[in-house]
């Protein structure tokens, strides 16, 4: 197989509040022999908030990020569900509206860039499943996670709206009964936990504006996984991770029950199965201690 190579859009949290996500992404890519070219020119995607204020500006900035992936002639890989949604949504709107694309390019041309629409945008989770392949991953597992019940937490912005999401990857995902993350857990040797909240919202995007609602959603998610007898949760989204790992106190207070479960980034889970060390995967950066190793 030809070596897989992608343009990596890290997003902001990988460089700040979830350093372990960046570390584990690079460690896993290294183990799998995937080459990631970091888009160091990329800006923040606006995280679904900038567009509430200035939709056009959000489109221009996201189109600029994609334009850099196009310059490399590579598929863009994201490691954050919200980066994925914002970038894919920009691509969808520009690819389907010539007028809008021309308007955005008028701005990009001012700085010598052009959005062409030639690069695909996909989340690292789907790059592993679609391009690398779970069968191949399974063969590479050295430390199967067979003694663990692992609760997948999908994160809204990877599964909804499904029509848009299913344009971006080959594995068709059913938003009400998704299986990508479950399949990845199984490939790593773990047992999956089925629970109602696995496709629900963690509340991240309303944390400042509606803290009570956000805390209840986080609390319900961790409680659901706990009641499903999970030893840990796993998520492909660093924003969900921030909610589930750092907000356990508010979450517990809001639902009247203590909640706390170790939460792994999808890359950390794969890394553990592939034999990466705790240090390589940044496990010490979690607020809820990873105490099962």
């Amino acid at each position: 197989m030809e070596k897989l190579k992608y343009a990596l859009f890290t997003g902001c949290t990988a460089k700040q509040s979830t350093p372990e996500q960046m570390m584990s992404t690079m460690a896993v890519a290294d183990k799998l022999g995937i080459e990631l070219v970091e888009l160091t020119e990329a800006s923040c995607c606006g995280a679904s908030h900038l567009q509430d204020y200035d939709d056009f500006l959000s489109l221009v900035l996201n189109a600029r990020n994609i334009a850099y992936a196009e310059k490399h002639g590579l598929t863009m890989v994201t490691i954050c569900n919200t980066c994925q949604l914002n970038t894919a949504m920009t691509k969808h709107r520009l690819d389907n509206n010539a007028d809008l694309k021309a308007k955005v390019n008028e701005k990009l041309n001012e700085v010598g860039l052009e959005y062409k629409g030639t690069s695909q945008v996909t989340h690292f989770l789907y790059a592993i499943i679609d391009d690398f392949g779970l069968d191949k991953l399974k063969e590479m597992v050295v430390t199967p996670l067979s003694q663990f019940n692992i609760a997948p937490f999908y994160g809204c912005h990877n599964i909804r709206p499904s029509e848009l999401q299913n344009e971006t990857h080959k594995t068709k995902e059913n938003p009400y009964n998704p299986n990508s993350l479950d399949d990845l857990i199984i490939a790593c040797g773990g047992m999956t936990v089925d629970y109602k909240e696995k496709t629900k919202c963690c509340g991240f995007h309303a944390e400042l504006q509606a803290p009570k609602t956000a805390a209840v959603l986080t609390g319900n998610a961790i409680a659901g996984a706990t009641d499903g007898n999970a030893d840990m949760m796993v998520t492909p989204c660093p924003l969900c991770h921030l909610k589930l790992d750092t907000q356990t106190k508010h979450a517990g207070d809001s639902i009247g029950r203590e909640v706390s479960l170790p939460v792994l980034h999808m890359q950390q889970m794969v890394g553990l199965a592939l034999g990466c060390s705790a240090d390589e995967l940044g496990l010490k950066h979690h607020l809820v201690d990873i105490d099962f190793l």
């Binding site: 020119e41 800006s43 204020y53 500006l57 909804r160 504006q209 979690h286």
Partner: protein
């Protein structure tokens, strides 16, 4: 190659039953039925009533996806029963299906719920054209095709409640207007003949009930049987708050605007700086968690943030492409 052969499958239905006049608690009844590939969910409700139990109750009328009466939940997913094919449901969930009303806590009899909260929210957004209509107009009020296009999607709403009862915020916060009411408000906000713009928007952005309490989970866009895309309308209403000058300075508006400032400074976010900009004095409540995060290496001080390469490009684009003011 698809064929038009009708196939039959055995399906186990677990059906929510409750009569508020008689039952202390709801219960689930099992029905095993042969289902053909051309049936819709409403056919199953009909068969339960006609062949299994005449007391089984549900709302239905047009059977053509127009009246919005028959929305229920199948395996937790809001569904317009007359529009959703059984073969799709079996593809999604297999042959064990749970049939429930849109809201269990609002159940009155079986699939029938008290939709009062939905209509209350719907009425609260002034879902009608506010305009001084001349009694003897001298010419038509012309609306261009482009202007009409703006409200086409939102106009398709049939008030079935599928999105309202799929919204996790509605479930938690009973003051929240919900996606359907917002989509309806947008229908009139985007209408060039409407004169209420700013005054309607005033009510739409109040804390707890309003636009800023949306968690952006995209459930409403996913579930809508008429492709209204309510979250898209919520975003457009957010935009209108700024263009109509209705937005006031609060944690939500500062958060949206703060992204622009943060991106202009570094390209990537200054996460701590953004929270400070949004919260102002409210930042104190985040200190306990922030300290824990700092100890675990999760907070990068502003002077150590790696700025995006070619930051000057980003700054130029922000200058030339900004359309909103605050």
């Amino acid at each position: 190659m698809s064929t038009n052969t009708i196939t039959t499958q055995k399906v186990n239905f677990k059906v929510f039953r409750f009569n508020a006049d008689e039952d202390y608690l709801p219960y689930y009844e099992d029905y095993n039925m042969e289902v053909t590939s051309e049936e819709v969910v409403l056919d199953i409700l009909d068969k339960i009533k006609w062949e299994k139990d005449g007391s089984f109750s549900y709302r239905r009328s047009c059977r053509h996806g127009i009246c919005g009466a028959c929305a229920i939940k199948v395996n937790g997913r809001s569904t317009l029963a007359c529009k959703e094919s059984m073969s799709t449901m079996i593809d999604f969930y297999g042959t064990d299906l749970v049939i429930e009303p849109l809201s269990i806590k609002r159940a009155v009899k079986d699939m029938i719920i008290d939709k009062g909260d939905f209509w209350e929210k719907h009425d609260a957004v002034h879902p009608y054209l506010v305009s001084d209509v001349e009694e003897h107009p001298e010419h038509e009020h012309l609306v261009t095709p482009e202007e009409a296009e703006e409200l086409n999607e939102a106009d398709l709403c049939i008030q079935c409640g599928a999105c309202h009862y799929a919204c996790p915020v509605v479930e938690i916060n009973e003051d929240f207007f919900g996606p359907a009411a917002f989509a309806k408000a947008y229908r009139f906000e985007a209408d060039v003949r409407d004169d209420a713009h700013a005054s309607r928007l005033q009510e739409l952005h109040q804390e707890k009930q309003g636009l800023w309490d949306c968690v952006k989970c995209m459930e409403c866009a996913e579930v809508c049987p008429k492709d209204v895309n309510p979250i898209d309308k919520i975003t457009k209403l957010h935009n209108m708050l700024f263009t109509e000058g209705v937005a006031t300075s609060n944690v939500a508006t500062r958060h949206a605007v703060g992204f622009k400032h943060s991106i202009a400074k570094n390209g990537v976010l200054d996460e701590g700086g953004l929270v400070l900009y949004s919260e102002m004095a409210g930042i104190v409540k985040h200190i306990p968690v922030a300290l824990k995060m700092f100890k675990k290496g999760k907070i990068v001080p502003p002077w150590s943030i790696t700025k995006s390469d070619n930051l000057d490009e980003i700054q130029k684009l922000i200058k030339s492409s900004s359309t909103a003011k605050f």
